[in-house]
Amino acid sequence: MTTNATTLLTVLGDPTRQAILDLLLEGPQPVGELAALLPVSRPAVSQHLKVLKGAGLVVDRQEGTRRVYRVDPDGLAPLRAYLERFWQTAMDAFAQHAETQHADNQADKEKDR
């Protein structure tokens, strides 16, 4: 999990890759159109897309003669996994607090009924 998150951070550490991801968040794009919108060459865009794809942040699909890229929602998997672990830890801590601080009182209350 930490490794995935670290990879994700490294991949997003490049301003061009951030720009590409920003553009793809607005909708799917072929390489040529991305290159036209960015101050870098088409081969450079292709290279960055390869890195983004390797990190699972974007996916591609052949449409006729064009290869179209889009954001892969599962690319946020490391963040999702982090949240899942965070919430489970928080909930476990809640259960422990509730039972150690309040279960005794509840037992007394039930006895008094």
Binding site: T2, T89, A103
Partner: protein
């Protein structure tokens, strides 16, 4: 492909608690400071109190020892003791974002053994999509998300051992 629907499945966690529903709801919402993972806050000084105002439109915020207050979200549904919904507007960079809106649904369901099943759903995670590209900017400082991950992992492992 004109329509682009980006969705991420919600995070769902649950725990069974040995208290009856009403009490369970009260402890969860009114004693948050007692159980919230203490290292997970977005203030500059440690947590002093965590408050969820118990009505729709109420604030969910924290008071810190240094006197500052930090926002977490707002209450969008309140149905004590069955459950509530709040927004979670904390970014991947552990700061409050007015425009990053995800939701937490927390429900309290009595079970036959007299216990309560507490279920938490964190949904609308696709809102983080636009945030993901911004994450890196805050990753370089000592309080960065990567640091949070390491801290968190340490806490989780201590809890597990």
């Amino acid at each position: 492909m004109t329509q682009q629907q980006q969705t991420i499945s919600p995070v769902r966690v649950s725990v069974s608690v040995g208290l009856e529903q009403q009490r369970c709801f009260e402890v969860f919402t009114a004693e948050m400071l007692s159980w919230w993972p203490a290292s997970h806050h977005i203030g500059e000084t440690p947590l002093k109190e965590i408050v969820i105002e118990p009505f729709v439109g109420g604030r969910w915020y924290a008071q810190h020892e240094g006197g500052e207050e930090t926002e977490t979200g707002v209450v969008t549904a309140w149905d004590a003791p069955r459950g509530f919904t709040v927004t979670w507007q904390v970014g991947a960079d552990w700061t409050y974002h007015a425009d990053l809106v995800t939701h937490l649904d927390v429900s309290f369901t009595p079970t036959e053994d007299g216990r309560t099943l507490v279920e938490l759903v964190h949904r609308d995670l696709e809102a983080y999509g636009a945030d993901a590209a911004q994450m890196q900017k805050t990753f370089e400082g000592p309080d960065a998300w990567a640091g949070m991950l390491r801290t968190y992992q340490g806490v989780a492992e201590r809890a597990a051992s």
